[in-house]
Amino acid sequence: MKKDNEKIKSFIESILLVAEKPVSIKELSSSIGQMNSEIQKALTELINEYKNKGIKIIKKGEYFSLVTDPENSEIVGKFLNEELRHDLSDAAIETLSVITYKQPVTRVEIEDIRGVQSDQLLRNLMIRGLITEVGRKETPGRPILYGTTMEFMQYFGFSNESQIPEFKEPVSEELFNNIDTIT
């Protein structure tokens, strides 16, 4: 039975509030009993409606979470008695940046880019919940593929992937053209 759009939005809000993990469109549509497209439409509207509210719906891939407005973090942090200053080392942030732009990515691929062993950093980032195993690469040894998590989005205050700074792959041609100008 097709439900009223407003009602669907209300259902989504309720589910997102009690969900312990990010919720996918698929999960929402099966719980509410509506088509994915209906859910998608309702979510887009909801996200818009929360524009000037203290709570936001953030999106990562197919998943959604109800969170506080990152601009309120100082007040919320004070209330929760939580230290806001980040405690990630430069190396950890660098590793996180590699994973962000290369995901899904294996440890070896990360180490190849950074030129240094990164297993300990990966373990720490995993424990922090900022990255997770997103699958296995179908190559000999089936190495773990890493990706960022919804907690990563929350930690940086991103509300969707388009807010992550853009990454421009270097163009190697340019490198050679510069030689003359330097000498």
Binding site: L16, L80, L84, L96, V98, I113, P165
Partner: protein
């Protein structure tokens, strides 16, 4: 995340990049060769305990090659050239990620985080007896409850067997049985058992006797009764 490293660079690429940026150079063959001495000086001061020196040496070799090529242009080899190209490309890529990481750091320093909705802890229904209630009180309460229970919910009382048979007991029994008569059949022994559990224990005891080579077991064909004989 705790990372105690006194040096400001983490790996060879990090060091190279730092030196190039310090000199305000771009990533080129010429600038790589220009920083060779500084790189080597840093590497010679490395503590093998905090850094994988081998990783640094691989790059050191490439830098020395570059430098020697500047003096003796004829030594160029295709293999080395490819490695230099590879190094330049790697550095360029690494720089992009390092820049991106700097951007990440800036974002993090804004301390703008979002917090998820806190799901209240699940209420776990546990029973805590009021003070002063003892086991016998609970027993009498339970009895009263049973009495007041609607008739249709009551089940027939079943006597739970309180038998406790051990394999050891059964072994002793079997020994007596075999002493009285040397040959028995498996089915006749099982027929003596008082319950399912007794039958299982009997079977286990027979297996034990076979293992200890106290009895011999024989069967004429499949599904025929098994003959047991004391040795």
């Amino acid at each position: 995340m705790y990372e105690i490293k006194v040096e400001k660079f983490e790996g060879p690429l990090d060091l190279l990049l730092e030196l190039i940026v310090d000199e305000k150079l771009d990533i080129t063959e010429v600038s790589l060769s220009a920083i060779t001495d500084k790189y080597l000086a840093e590497v010679s001061g490395l503590d093998p305990k905090t850094h994988d020196v081998a990783e640094f040496l691989v790059i050191a070799a490439r830098l020395i090659y570059l430098k020697s090529k500047a003096i003796l242009p004829t030594i160029e080899t295709p293999e080395e050239e490819a490695e230099i190209e590879d190094l330049k490309a790697k550095l360029e890529i690494y720089k992009k990620y390092k820049d991106a990481a700097k951007e990440f750091g800036n974002i993090l320093n804004k301390n703008q985080r979002s917090f998820p909705a806190k799901t209240p802890k699940k209420i776990i229904n546990t029973f805590t007896a009021p003070k002063g209630i003892e086991l016998k009180d609970m027993w009498s309460i339970f009895q009263r409850l049973l009495k007041d229970m609607p008739e249709e919910l009551k089940r027939e009382q079943v006597e739970l067997p309180s038998e406790k048979i051990t394999v050891e007991d059964k072994l002793a029994d079997l020994e007596l049985i075999f002493k009285a008569k040397k040959k028995h059949t498996f089915s006749s022994l099982l027929k003596k058992s008082k319950s399912k559990l007794d039958a299982i224990i009997t079977f286990l005891a027979i297996l034990e006797l076979v293992k200890c080579k106290k009895i011999r077991v024989a069967q004429t064909s499949n599904f025929k009764d098994i003959g047991l004989e004391i040795l």
